[in-house]
Subunit: 220 residues, 2 copies
């Protein structure tokens, strides 16, 4: 099976997929899509043909495009079940997916680059206003995530085994820190983030390790 | 199995779950959570204990809470596989989940009530500004959804059988129309919406049929 990942080094959703590919030991090629340069390479005709939503990531599996990180992760889990990213018990699976979706559909969509750019261009709030917006939604979301997570967390988000929940939480915590939020307010999230971040698959998938990461970080 | 759905009549995510319950023929009780009255019943302590994100829906299954519509639908699909909401082929399943997630994570989160209220209170844009915001994100999303959908649609979103994609599309089209968008711009989405809307399970799950729908529509 030939796997190609269209990805941006600092995109949360791309990062989730990179962790899954690393955990499952699947070799793949990275095709960088720079979300800022030249007005955003995701808007180029060639990429829009693969992903008309103009979002990353897109996974090409033997030439067939799959997009949306949740759909990609479920596909990988079905085709490459080991090691499992979903628990064996139905209620625990629902809990893992709930945690994943809190980040995927209730936090990250409100603080991604596209939204921050639109808020700034529409309301002329500048970089401080963009950061205020991001901090509001990330804080609100983490306030909700913390009690749901702490109800069943072990070493990792769901018991002691890495699951899709950890794949969503680690990139979201990175974004929280980028916007200078103090993670001490969410101790369970911070602890789960720290535990997962030590895992070799999470280390390999980190933005700074990607081929499209700028050499001088923070310049793009 | 005892099933209780905490829901708001006009919430997209609640509506998706109602369709799934109707399709699978599962009896359930509705516990309305009014998102506007008294500042929003989702903020009450009793509901926050079930759902700290203060979002609807929450499904109680034998007293155990599941939240996030994607997690609820996957749970229902696993426990009650017939009729299936996901296609049998792995790539078609990925496509159905991709379509679902385009709505669930890339469109709906940007135009829900909570975001519109925040945009208005932060930038003082009034109801016209709220509507402009909603129209921008819904249009952008439907522009991206249309070509992905039309690539494999049959009578329904994925081939000729109802899938989770239809469960997401119908409520999103309802929201597009609420904000006066002309669906003629997205002919495949409009056609798929019309086909699914005739289905008895979709009819039963419509907001106007819910116990908490106002008698005079549009008053809340």
């Amino acid at each position: 099976m030939d796997i190609e990942l269209y990805s941006y080094w600092r995109s949360s959703a791309s990062w989730r997929v990179r962790i899954a590919l690393a955990l499952k030991g699947l070799p793949y090629r990275t095709s960088p899509v720079h979300l800022v340069r030249d007005g955003g390479e995701q808007h180029a005709d060639r990429y829009r043909a693969l992903n008309p939503m103009r979002e990353v990531p897109t996974l090409l599996v033997d030439g067939v495009a799959i997009a949306q990180s949740a759909a990609i992760l479920e596909f990988l889990e079905e085709r490459f079940p080991e090691p499992a990213l979903l628990p064996g018990d139905a209620h625990q699976r629902a809990h893992a997916r709930r945690l994943f979706e809190i980040v995927n559909s209730s936090i990250q969509p409100l603080q991604n680059l596209r939204v921050l750019q639109y808020v700034d261009s529409t309301f002329q709030v500048g970089s401080a206003g963009r950061a205020d917006w991001a901090r509001y939604w990330i804080s609100l979301g983490l306030d909700g995530l913390e009690p749901v997570l702490s109800s069943r967390a072990g070493r990792h988000a769901v018991s002691d085994t890495v699951s899709i929940a950890d794949l969503a939480i680690v990139p979201q915590v990175y974004n929280a820190r980028r916007f200078d939020l103090d993670m001490a307010r969410w101790p369970c999230i911070a602890r789960v983030d720290a535990a997962a971040s030590e895992h070799p698959a999470f280390v390999a998938a980190h933005p700074d390790r990607q081929p499209d990461a700028p050499e001088a970080l923070g310049t793009s």
